[in-house]
């Protein structure tokens, strides 16, 4: 019985993450358009795109291509159920942050496997860039999460959220401001928004990993992006913004973070990959280390 309940809850969480993620991207497109002084697409445009993609025919380069893209989507879905989302917390005793981060890695591995089995060098270059950038942003992010670990004396997101209960002044955003800024910059890299969008540069490497993806494959890619967006902003909310008393507040907080990212994305050009990494290892890492020192000492 409990298994069935958890299963349904898990499916619900997955559906929530997909829809919220798609909605976020849709709203994001609208907001970006407004910054560009355009009208912009309807905010449900992403659902339409997804539907179109899933119903469009496509080509595949073999089983690994299929499996990789499914893995990219499914592994993130599997990770989402461990994320405490407001009052929805399906596995409260099993929400280790590092576990979630490593589980997300599987999605990237799957994605990478899929696209590079297409045999297109553009895709592989894109993946190589993405992985290089990962090395860039993971280091400051690691500094931040280990600071939070030490600060909260727990590694479980549930407990980190619980430790921040009791109002704005208890949020880690206030208590660990440098960490928050560092994590925010790292988040920009995680989301692949400008100035860290070198992995999917359309004009240089024909949209990188997506070069061979069409139809439902691109649809899966889109889903992965949406869930990833949900998960990454969700982790940030749990880490710094005190989670949420209910899921809608949680989502609003997520959106705030995404909104920040969008603003940056809309106006910035793109880093060269090595400059992106060295930026990550300079500014955010310094901030993260300052934060870590403050926590340790």
């Amino acid at each position: 019985m409990i298994v069935l309940l958890k299963l349904i809850q898990g499916i619900g969480a997955g559906a929530l993450s997909i829809s919220i993620g798609l909605l976020f991207v849709g709203i994001g497109r609208k907001i970006t358009a407004r910054i560009h002084r355009r009208y912009g697409p309807p905010f449900v445009q992403n659902f339409i795109d997804l539907f179109k993609l899933l119903s469009k025919k496509s080509i595949s380069h073999g089983f690994t291509f299929d499996l990789g893209l499914i893995a990219g989507f499914s592994a993130l879905l599997a990770a989402v159920v461990f994320l405490p989302m407001g009052q929805i917390n399906i596995f409260p005793h099993n929400s280790s942050l590092i576990m979630i981060l490593y589980l997300m890695t599987m999605a990237y591995l799957g994605m990478a496997m899929g696209v590079s089995s297409s045999g297109n060098p553009n895709a592989t270059v894109g993946i190589a860039r993405a992985l290089t950038l990962t090395m860039g942003y993971e280091v400051p992010f690691a500094a931040v999460i280990f600071s939070v670990y030490l600060f909260a004396h727990t590694g479980s997101l549930t407990n980190i959220v619980a430790a921040q209960s009791g109002g704005f002044m208890n949020w880690n955003l206030v208590k660990l401001p440098f960490g928050f800024v560092a994590a925010e910059i790292a988040l920009q890299g995680m989301l692949g928004e400008a100035p860290f969008d070198m992995a999917i540069a359309p004009a240089e490497i024909a949209s990188g990993p997506m070069v061979e993806m069409g139809g439902k494959y691109l649809g899966f890619g889109m889903l992965q992006h949406s869930i990833g967006l949900f998960l990454e902003t969700g982790i940030m909310v749990d880490l710094f913004l005190g989670g949420g008393s209910n899921v809608w507040i949680f989502v609003i907080k997520q959106f705030e973070l995404y909104f920040l990212a969008l603003l940056v994305n809309a106006i910035f050009p793109r880093f060269k990959i090595e400059d992106g990494v060295s930026f990550m290892w300079k500014v955010p890492l310094l901030l993260g280390i300052v934060q870590a020192l403050i926590v340790v000492l």
Binding site: G62, H93, Y102, M106, L109, A112, L131, A142, A143, G155
Partner: protein, 621 residues
Amino acid sequence: MNTNLIWLVAMPLIGSAVTAVVVRYKFLDRLITFLTFATTLFVLFLAHVGQSYSWTLKFLGTTLNLTLNVSHLSIFMLYISIAFGTVLAFYSLIDNSRMKGFLLLLVLAANNWIFMSNDMIGFFFAWELMGWASVVSVLGGREKEKSRHAALYYAMMSVAGSYSMLFGIFILWRLTGTFSISANIAYLSSIIGGHPWWVLGIVSLFFMTFMIKSGIFPFHTWVPLAYAYSPDAFTPFLSAAMSKYGVYGMLLFLPLGLLEKGFPTAFGVPWTNYIFLWFGVITAVVGTVLSIFQDDVKKLFAYSSLSNLGYVVAAIALFTPVGITAGIYHAFNHLLFEGALFITLLAVISRSGTSKLSEMGGLWKKMPITFFTFFVGIASAAGIPPFNGFGSKWLVYQAMIKQHLIFATILLFLASTGAFMYLFKAFHSIFLGQLSHDYERVKEVPIVGQIVEAFLMIAMIFFGVQPGYILKPIGAIVKSMGLKPLPVMANGYVAGMFSNVYMPLIGWSLVVSFIFGFILFYVSAEHKNVSQTDNYTAGQIPEDWGLTPETYQFSWNFYQPVEKLFVPFFRIKIDGFFRGIGDWTKATGSAIKEIFVGNAQMYAFFAIVGLIIFVIAGWMA
């Protein structure tokens, strides 16, 4: 007196003697090797903790007791190494490399002896035996001249290490008059309060050996050479099992009780351990960074192997319950996934005939079982749950954070991210991407190889989902070291300091979401399979362009941008330091050689001068 223990050493020695006779008949050689491994494994089933066997040796003017002793740690190490060796020996039935069965069996005998020995004579004997047997094994690599250099380099490091340990052994003997390891460690532990520098000096003599054997910075330079140029069938054992000897040795010498003796601490660990820990961390980072830029796949995984040993060392150096648990657990996981990876590499190299990443590509269709084993292997090595590498890495972080070692943890995390980079590079360059025309006829390895690979794949998943089967014996080891073991929960749990992870849950979560993913995939519009060359080429038609799969495969200079980032670090050449010592010795040798001028008068003159000096010395005395 448990005579079954002596068979653990004797059985491989006998097998080795037999295989040495039939060394010319390759299959027979391999078959006997495998049977010996299997028998040894069977003999091991009869052994259990607390057994001991001793016999005497009339040597060094006294009657010495040589003792074999089964502790929790040793039986754990024995099980994992012999079991892996058996699997490898089974694979080697179909292998064509120039590995000699009798050398592998000699290493096995030494392996068992090292893990069981409670006296330093036996330990040293076995250590040296293992040393030369593996050095000679390395000689049989594919690239003759390179494996010659590699073997020589490895031998030099190994011999230097052995002599350092020999020195340490006898110093301990001088102090205590016994060769018993446990007695000596108890002695060291008892005098550490009064003479810390003495103890540190002696222990560092031993640790130098162990660090060399495990390839810990700054002694990591031999590892890539020896791994890359050893016979492909021997490399898995070299990486998976033999790197553990150093770890085992360190674990023997770590319980000195520094904290109880009021040793100065840094971050809650004795400062010696703190320094040692940084060696581990640096190893992890250096291994990772260098691995990213390798083109030879065995070199790449050699660096990967030593990077993982950096994790192990960093964790055990803490000498806290969670640290030791994490270290041993990671050592086990390293054995499993690194062994599996090297076995798949063996399969790939035997079929493709090259170990250059830039010459491979697209092999997954040709070698599906190998491909999936490799996939699970890199997922484990990258620490992706629910495969087996995750739990230990996660515990390592916990252990480090527990001691507020935030910088070390960040660097380890960097190593882990970098690990993902090089693992994917190898994965892509071997299995994904375009299939070269040269490999159109490549076949999957024979059925024996497939069985081995499938077995390892299942093992990696099983021990990932059910870590309890490993964590329980590790708990016993931790307890036997006088530490409080981590709470043992149900089989699927990894219990950490800050939170727990229930691995089967992750597994189920993945299964459900994969089912969901597949359903979504198959209800969506259909797809058609196209050939690998039907690719987006910006409108260029491949034939017009003269495009071949090889030219359309991206695997050369894979992480070129990253290389720019690390340019300043490449100027530091540890390897150059050792080679410098070698060159200096050689130059001194050339100079000293000039004493022997080849002239009788000069020799006579030397003799007379020597005499005169003596006479003067006698006068002065």
